[in-house]
Point group: C2
């Protein structure tokens, strides 16, 4: 790599191309983190902190509100799609164009060009978002330096087609185990059938009616589903065990404890032998009723949509900071070999954020 | 092997020991089949036929009834338990002592010592009973020479503790497949859940009440059970397929077609996408109301029991010959390394059969 500096006077699309040409696959973010840190330290209106390959920069203007702009600097593995290429139709191709170096470019441009925002700003650049959750840099910062992430409202600049996607639903996975007693299937009455014992569980799931509550202005949509079922010993044996794996996706007006209580109550009369919580991450409120968020929504326009899947906004929510996703690029193109972004979307997103932060 | 002849003047227990010392694991029955054939051909009152390593010998006295005595000559693999050993308590140890060279010894003794039975006799010695069904020698004889197996009543000399076990239940295995449509579990309403679609199947199974009909004097006990269930793609995906494997064990008063109809009707309202018959073998009536069988039961004493599991008697039943299991040895000792038989049981079984066939 010839040039390891980042020129923040480039426009957001050019800066995106520069970032794409600066490989930073998960686990190899250090050179890019160094460059981001150096570029930010050159800006006198920002205080810069670093933890591992995570960089946090803040204004300290004593404003009434503080807004966080966050993005991950890693990408999925490069698949012959670096360096970037701008085609004649104005489309920028390459690994990370969409997910999410265009969003990172917007963060850097705002950091460089808005020295006196109407709200205090915190810029978070973190590593290892595309790999196992325990490696996630935002998680590490939240655990080691939660004060660095203090704020009233957070925006994750993930690709959302330039629409606001608010909050996220929680996800709880439980294993429901039923018990029986083995016997030869020719003498079934000598045993008891654990698969038959799972009948009430499936009956309840089939009859489940999802709740669709409005939370901070967005309508969420819950779901309770068997995602796996497994039972059986041999084709001539009455099975002594059956496991139903259930996934509960729940709206962010429930706490984790409330979600777990709901599922336990829901299956309370099903004669379950073991109820095992296998995985659980809480949701995130969109916080769109907060004044900063409402002003943001008015500034960027469009109609906010709820985010049904789990995303890193939940980490902010866990710290008490409502959060949304908002960024250039189509989410469906993320992780594709033909990943791309319309170059004009990037300065557009930048302009909308600037308008909100300088009005 | 020094001596490849069989001396049918030995008593039944000694002959059993001799047969055990004559290894005949499944697939390697030829030397023993040769010895059995040679010993039977030396008996002038019998007509002997051979097909592969299966030997069939018959009297042709023009009696009003014909009775078949059948046994397999193969054993499970020897596990250091050959040659045989008679201990000081009169127990004969070794591979095949129980399953079923003691029964074969009884067949051979009757063949040698009852030249003028009150019913015509057919002796069947067959190979490959302990391995895959398609290798079974009785099946091969039934297909190639069904006339060799003609008769009014058949006794399989499998170990039954010297009790008559009548007939056997049929066994039908079906795969019931439900269909759904995949979706991310965070947006479950975009798909449809194939595991939930299996709820009515399990509900019907859980509510099933078995029939316990009396057939030819024996009370059978049906069973309809899920023996396996499988569904699921990933823990965040609504599953598009689920399979319930159901095993129907049915009394021998149902034909195979009737059994299949019953199961189809039973699940008719369950919205099953595919109903696949995976395996099906019919049952066998015990035929204990037949005069020859009734006389047999009176002669051997005790109370006949129904056989719930599937056995080779079903092959006779398919040819229109009612059949029972009756032989020395404890069925629970079959296939064990410490397989054994009380030596005195063997001539006892022989004497009871002789009494019936000469009264």
């Amino acid at each position: 790599m010839a040039d390891t500096t980042l020129d923040l006077t480039l426009d957001a699309a050019e800066l995106t191309a520069r970032l794409v040409d600066f490989p930073s696959e998960s686990g190899n973010e250090k050179p890019l983190a160094d460059a981001v840190e150096a570029a930010l330290r050159a800006l006198p209106h920002l205080t810069v902190d670093r933890y591992g390959n995570n960089v946090v920069a803040r204004t300290n203007l004593g404003r009434a509100e503080r807004v966080i702009l966050a993005g991950h600097i890693d990408t999925v593995p490069i698949a012959g799609n670096v360096p970037s290429r701008l085609d004649e139709d104005g489309v920028l191709w390459g690994c990370g164009t969409c997910d999410m170096k265009s969003g990172v470019a917007v963060q850097l441009r705002i950091a460089a060009t808005v020295p006196a925002p109407n709200r205090d700003l915190t810029f978070v650049f973190y590593d290892n978002e595309e790999v196992a959750a325990h490696l996630n840099g935002l998680k590490h910062v939240a655990e080691a330096h939660p004060d660095w992430l203090a704020g009233d409202f957070a925006i994750l600049l993930e690709p959302t087609d330039g629409q606001v996607e608010g909050g996220c639903q929680g996800t709880l996975r439980v294993l429901l185990k039923t018990k029986g007693e083995r016997a030869h299937s020719a003498r079934a009455w000598m045993g008891s059938n654990a698969i038959h014992a799972a009948a009430p569980i499936l009956a309840k799931l089939a009859a489940y009616e999802p709740r669709t509550p409005v939370v901070d202005g967005l309508r969420f949509h819950e779901g309770l589903n068997a995602v796996r079922i497994e039972g059986g010993v041999a084709t001539n044996v009455i099975p002594d065990a059956c496991t139903v794996v259930v996934n509960f996706r729940y709206a962010p007006d429930r706490s984790e404890a409330e979600a777990e209580d709901f599922v336990r109550d829901f299956f309370a009369d099903c004669d379950i032998d073991e109820f095992i919580v296998d995985d659980h991450t809480g949701g995130a409120r969109p916080g769109l009723t907060h004044p900063a968020a409402a002003a943001f929504l008015a500034a960027v326009g469009g109609e906010a949509r709820p985010k049904f899947g789990w995303t890193d906004v939940a980490r902010f929510s866990a710290l008490g900071v409502p959060a949304v996703n908002y960024g250039p690029g189509a989410p469906l193109l993320a992780h594709k070999v033909d990943e791309r972004v319309r170059a004009s979307e990037i300065p557009e997103a930048e302009e909308r954020l600037r308008a909100w932060l300088t009005s």
